[in-house]
């Protein structure tokens, strides 16, 4: 499993890092086959919505060859969803089998066309903005529709990570991830 973590200026770091922690912990769980990942952006240096600068290690590259693409949110998404340069780059992930977003990252997945006909969620403050991009805005903490996963606001990033881990690798693997993260709150789909 090769994951593209999409980063952009004005993103919210916790949107990214909850999911990032959960999915990368899978490398410590036997039987998952392991995961690898790149930090993907249009520029090498990106700065989050509170001034934290991070460094991408896959810059402006084609996203075709990943198995999962992840898109965090942040206030910047409200403008970025109209940025044709960004969208053209994001759409290079069109054929990536699994897609996930947290918070207003759903607006970017929506603008890319990936939520057409799908049920999806986002930050509570952006339900109306999301509506035109999908078939139904689901007011849940996370939702899966086929191979597209979306999560709610900011801290839902951890829950979405465990949900994706459970969906792709099974409950036992996800429980081990939850233990490693010391996260008692996620409700597993099976016992």
């Amino acid at each position: 499993m090769k994951i593209a973590f999409v980063l952009f200026d004005g993103m919210t770091t916790l949107d990214f890092s909850g999911f990032f922690d959960a999915m990368t912990q899978l490398n410590r769980v036997p039987g998952t086959g392991g995961v690898s990942w790149r930090f993907c952006a249009l520029t090498e240096r990106i700065v989050d919505d509170r001034g934290l600068a991070m460094q991408a290690n896959a810059v402006a590259g084609d996203l075709t060859d990943f198995d999962l693409v992840f898109v965090p949110g942040g206030m910047a998404t409200r403008q970025l969803r109209h940025d044709e340069t960004f969208l053209a780059w994001l759409r290079t992930a069109e054929g990536v089998p699994w897609k996930a977003s947290v918070c207003t990252g759903a607006l970017l997945m929506g603008a890319a066309g990936w939520l057409n006909g799908k049920r999806a969620t986002t930050n509570k403050s952006a339900y109306e903005l999301l509506a035109p991009y999908c078939s139904e805005v689901v007011r849940e903490r996370y939702v899966r529709d086929d191979r597209v996963f979306t999560g709610g606001g900011v801290s839902a990033s951890i829950d979405l990570g465990l949900f994706v881990a459970e969906s792709l690798y099974g409950t036992a693997a996800a429980k081990e991830v939850g233990r490693l993260m010391d996260y008692p709150y996620y409700q597993f789909q099976s016992a």
Copy 2:
């Protein structure tokens, strides 16, 4: 409230970012007086335990003039707690009024001498390592002893952030932070 976020090579990003998100959301909550922050490290570029490079904007500077110093964890703390250069730098925060750690960041606070005679917690895997540094290892998600706050493993970072926000700014302010973070799990100390 001026916060020093300590960063170091091999840290766990979610240890940092949960607390970071909660405390910096206080800027969106009226009546708190606002918060400011710096990303503090011994080198300008630091790389987390999964390869994410971040940029400090207060490099090798004296930490005296902050109101709160925050220390995340990560496997690297097991070595770093014996690194005299790092500890000498961290100890420049000795007089900082409020101190907080998540996960094995407690080992660094302990090595700095800040947990002497205090009750503290850490990642479940490090309870025994923490014991020599404090009066009692508390097996809770977060604990306060006077002006020192410690949190448990990784995802406890969000809970600790809300606990510190509530302790310093009151329940109403912390509830607004929890709403902004879309975090339904933290148990507030009062209604």
